[in-house]
Structure formats: C-alpha cells, structure tokens
C-alpha cells in the first residue's frame, strides 16, 4: 500500500503546484499510515526531484523516456499504470490541469479506480472513503464516496496549500514498458503563448471585461500585471470579440482559476464569469455601476471609471514601494 502522486515539471523545474500535490498526498499517507511516492515524467535533475522530500515524499520515481516528451494520452496512462501497480498504490493523486484531465479518467478505467476530480480538501473520512469536490461550477460542493479498492483524486489548484514535512528522499529511475503502438498522437508543431506568467499558475491575476471599451485600452491592465508579477485574464465576450487571446478567458466555459488575488476591471460579474474565479482568496472589483453583481462576490470594491482608477492604482502601488 502507498500513496502515489504524479507531479509535473516545467522546463525541468518543479513548481508550487507540484509541491501542493505532494503536500496533499502526504496528508493522505499520514492518515493511512503509509508512505508517499512521487512520480515525475521528463528530464528533471535528481536534486530538483529530491525537493519533493521537503513536502513528505520519501521516494521519487523518475521516468525519462524521450518518447514521453509530449503528452500522449494512451502512452502516459500505460506508464503511470505500471508505476501504480509496481508501488501497490491504493491512492493516486494528480493535478486537475491539462495533463490530469487527460490522463486521470483513462487511468480510472485501467485501474478500475473510482475518480474524484477537482477535489478541494483531504478526505473527510477513509472508511468510507469520502472526498469533497466542487460541483455546479463552484455553486455547490459534493461529498463523493469512492467504493473501489484503488482511488484516484485530482486536486483543484490552490485548494490545499503547501505544507512542509521534510523526509529524506531516494530518487530512482523507472523505464516503462511501452510499445511503439502505444503512441497514437503525432505533434506537428507547437506554439507558446506570450506572457511570462501562466494564468493557471499565477498568484495574482489582473482581469478586465467589456467595460474597458476596446483592445486599445489594455495598456494599463498589462502594466499593472507586470508591476505585480501577475497574469492577465479577461471575460468571455472580450475573448470572443478578439480583443484578447482565447487563452485568457476565465469562467465557466474558459479557465477556472484560484489565485490569491483577482482584479476585475469593468467586468459585470455574470454567474458564468464568477464560476471561474470564485475560489480566488481575495477579489477586487472596479466598476462604474454600484449595482454590478461583481460586488456581491468581491472582497474590496471601488465604484468608478476604470480609465481613471487603473492609472491611479498603478501610481499608488509604485509610490507605496518607493518608501
């Protein structure tokens, strides 16, 4: 018996999201009186991988197989299944980002393991095994009982946090047994989004809506984001009208995010928009309409014109830093 946690790297580095998953897996392992094994796929140095020990992983398994450089749903599923079986994992923890969404359901079938996606907390009980998840786009929560022997959980980002529990870590390598026929997708080309901070990983997000009036007014939004080391985001009509790239659209039909701080400039706060941001720790809204629904979700608000408030906010942050 063990808890297996699949961690992703970006260009060879583990990030906060990976450590949050290890923290979460460690909590479950502690409750079950067992150990945590972290699994990494990709070219990551041993010293970087051993950082997982800071959050409780006593063992890290590294798969470094060039064929797995890009995500192939079938091949990844088989590779992770082989590790889960070798480790006798009874609980498998993954992120709920692009890879988790693609792989966890396939693993669920292969391992005949009940899956709880978008979990927001550690299991509330183990017998029966019950985990709370978001439902109805964050408008409610459901407690899901998993009845199968093996369980899979994907964790909503920023919902458990980082918890250190240092242990000494052994890094080992694993070569999955994969046939060429297990690979079924061919990558023709790739494209990177511009913007230094990834929306799904950002601690601070500066978002704006139709109240900005047009794409030519986005300068201060980007300037504020730059100043705060934040990612930029937008409402759906802004992306649909081509004012901003689709990758920035947050909400029910866009990305669901949970930063520590979310700014909504000129966003009305429609229920479908709020669905994507309601898990943010602090929400700040600036809107000229005091009745805008966004104020019902926001923690701090200013009733005013974004064209006036945004530059003042930038000035004020700069001033607060200079002394």
């Amino acid at each position: 018996m063990s808890v297996l946690v699949y961690i992703e790297n970006r260009e060879g580095k583990l990030n906060k999201g990976a450590f949050e998953l290890v923290s979460y897996a460690s909590r479950i392992a502690k409750d079950l009186n067992t150990g945590v094994t972290a699994l990494s796929i990709g070219n990551v140095s041993e010293s970087e991988l051993s950082r997982a020990g800071q959050y409780g992983a006593s063992k890290v398994i590294s798969i470094n197989d060039g064929r797995l450089e890009t995500l192939d749903n079938k091949a990844y599923t088989i590779a992770i299944e082989q590790v889960a079986t070798a480790e006798s994992a009874t609980v498998l923890v993954m992120g709920s980002g692009f890879t988790g969404k693609a792989i966890a359901p396939r693993l669920s079938v292969r391992l005949k393991a009940g899956l709880v996606p978008f979990a927001i907390a550690a299991p509330s009980s183990y017998q029966p095994f019950v985990v709370r998840k978001k439902t109805f786009s964050g408008k409610s929560f459901s407690d899901v009982e998993v009845k199968s022997a093996v369980k899979i959980i994907t964790l909503s980002p920023n919902s458990f946090g980082l918890h250190e529990s240092p242990v000494s870590t052994a890094v080992t390598t694993f070569s999955p047994n994969l046939l060429d026929s297990d690979f079924s997708t061919r990558v023709d080309s790739s494209e990177k989004f511009s913007g230094k901070v990834l929306l799904t990983e950002a601690d601070i997000v500066v978002s704006a809506g139709r109240g900005m009036k047009g794409p030519e007014n986005w300068g201060p939004v980007e300037e504020l984001a730059e100043l705060l080391g934040a990612a930029t985001a937008c409402s759906r009509p802004v992306a649909d009208e081509g004012w901003r790239p689709h990758a920035e659209h947050v909400g029910q039909t866009g990305k669901v995010i949970a930063p520590n701080l979310y700014f909504a400039f000129g966003i009305s706060g429609a229920i479908q928009h709020v669905a994507g941001i309601s898990s943010s720790k602090v929400i700040v809204a600036v809107n000229k309409d005091p009745e805008a629904p966004i104020f019902a979700t926001a923690d701090y608000g200013i009733v005013g014109d974004v064209q006036k408030i945004l530059p003042e906010l930038i000035q004020s942050i700069k001033a607060s830093r200079s002394h």
Binding site: R10, K74, T77, S96, G97, F98, K101, A102, P105, R106, S108, V109, R110, A113, L115, V116, P128, R132, K133, K134, T135, F136, S137, K139, S140, S142, D143, V144, E145, V146, K147, S184, T185, R186, V187, D188, S189, S190, E191, K192, F193, L198, H246, H249, Q252, G254, S278, K281, V282, A285, F295, D299, Y300, G301, I302, G304, K308, I309, L313, S316
Partner: protein, 249 residues
C-alpha cells in the same frame, strides 16, 4: 464515416443551486435543462464538418445516458441538426457508469469519431470522455480547441500548459473539446424544429454497468461577507488594505 456527439443534460448555467432539506441531493424543481455548453459547441463543429464540400461524414448521432426527462434536450440536438439520437435508459450514478454505457452503444453502432465536452457543468467531472476512450481503446486527445478532417486522419489543436500543439491522429478517435472548437453554438431553425419530430430517437436498454463512486452529501459555499467599498477618490487606501489587511500584495 459516422460521428457521435455525447450529450450531457444539465441545468441552465444561470441556475441557483438549492439543496434538499437533508443535503443528500440537489433540489431540481423548476430547473431549465439545456445541452451542456461544450456539447452544444461540439455538435456545432460536427455539423460544420459534415457540411464542408466533399465531407466524408455521412451521419451525426447524439447520445445521452439518462431517464426520459432528458428527451427534450436530445430533441433540441436533433433540431440543431443531428441525424439521429440515442437515449440509454438509466439514471447513472457516476461518470464511470456513463462511460461504460456509452462504450456499449459505440461497440454496437461503430462510430469513427466521438466528440465529448471537456466537462459537464453540473457535477463537473471532465471524466466521461477519457473513460470512454479507454473503455474502447480509442486514441483520445483532451482540451481540443480546433478540429479538421484530412482524409482518414484528423488534424487538431489542443491547449497545453502555456501553449498549443497541432496534432495529427488517425481514426477511430475521441476528441474532448473545449473553448474554440466553435464560437457560437447553433440554434435550431424553425425547419429544424419541425423535422426533429420525425428523426429517430432510439431508447436503448442499459447494459448492466456499475458505478465506482456515489455522491453522499452536498453543501453550499458559505456566504461571503459584504464587499469593503473604497472611495474612488482614495485609491491609495485600496493599496494599503491589500497590503496590510489582506496581505496579498
């Protein structure tokens, strides 16, 4: 070539969620039911592909696992343009069971391309598509934002962390689609609504699948405390609050 769009029947996205007094279930009275937004976009894209000159798609089917109450949603899909519909008669307990039932249908009807949405807006799983692909042994690609046919191959774009990739896959194939696959969902035309009444909607008996999970309770988020309003003439006060009180900048 036959294409299947899997349809999840969900409450309208503006629905306010109420729970039953014992919190065991969601109070579904008075809810407007709609085609899950992503499935509506998937169907829209499927129709666009079928209408392209020289298209090899002969037929677009839609399928949903659920009780008779969801039939209006399938009729709407027929009115939008699907050729026929299947309802698998079962009140499913979880995504695993839905996928098993859909897999049985696909095996009986042999579809070359299957489209699923990235997630249902009710129990938000992002599960059925991947589970179905694995049941069938189909290639699957998730987070697909564009899809085109190229002879017996499919060319598509998927979003990944921090970027996009253009891929080629061969058939049979299952795509899990997200934003971008189509922009505006098609709405039924008057003629579509008339012809939908005569299109086949076949009720299929469940195949005896079983669930691995069950919802045992529900909760609503705690109400947020009132928004702290800051005067528009005093923006620096907002900065002070974010720094000293909320400690987020």
């Amino acid at each position: 070539m036959k294409l299947l769009v899997c349809i999840s029947n969900v409450p309208d996205t503006t629905t306010k969620i109420k729970l039953s007094p014992d919190n065991k279930s969601v109070d579904l009275s008075g809810i407007q039911w709609v085609i899950n937004p992503w499935d509506e976009l998937a169907l829209t894209r499927a129709l666009e592909l079928k209408e392209t000159a020289g298209s090899s798609i002969e037929k677009i089917s839609v399928a949903s696992v659920g009780t008779a109450e969801l039939e209006p949603t399938l009729r709407k899909a027929l009115a939008i343009g699907a050729d026929d519909a299947f309802r698998i008669d079962l009140n499913p307990q979880d995504a695993y069971q839905v996928a098993e039932e859909l897999a049985a249908l696909v095996k009986a009807q042999s579809f070359d391309i299957i489209l699923c949405g990235i997630e249902s807006s009710d129990y938000n799983g992002a599960m059925v598509g991947g589970m179905l692909a694995e049941q069938l042994g189909y290639t699957s690609v998730s987070s697909v934002s564009s899809l085109n046919l190229d002879g017996s191959n499919v060319k598509l774009t998927r979003e990944i962390d921090g970027g996009k990739q253009n891929l080629t896959v061969s058939l049979p194939f299952l795509a899990i689609v997200q934003k971008g696959i189509a922009i505006e969902p098609r709405i039924p035309s008057m003629r579509g609504i008339m012809t939908a009444r005569t299109k086949p909607l076949t009720v299929v008996a469940a195949s005896g699948s079983s669930a691995l999970t069950a919802v045992v309770g529900n909760a609503l988020p705690t109400a947020k405390s009132a928004c702290h309003m800051v005067d528009a003439e005093n923006v620096s006060e907002l900065v002070r609050l974010l720094h000293e009180e909320a400690k987020v900048i």
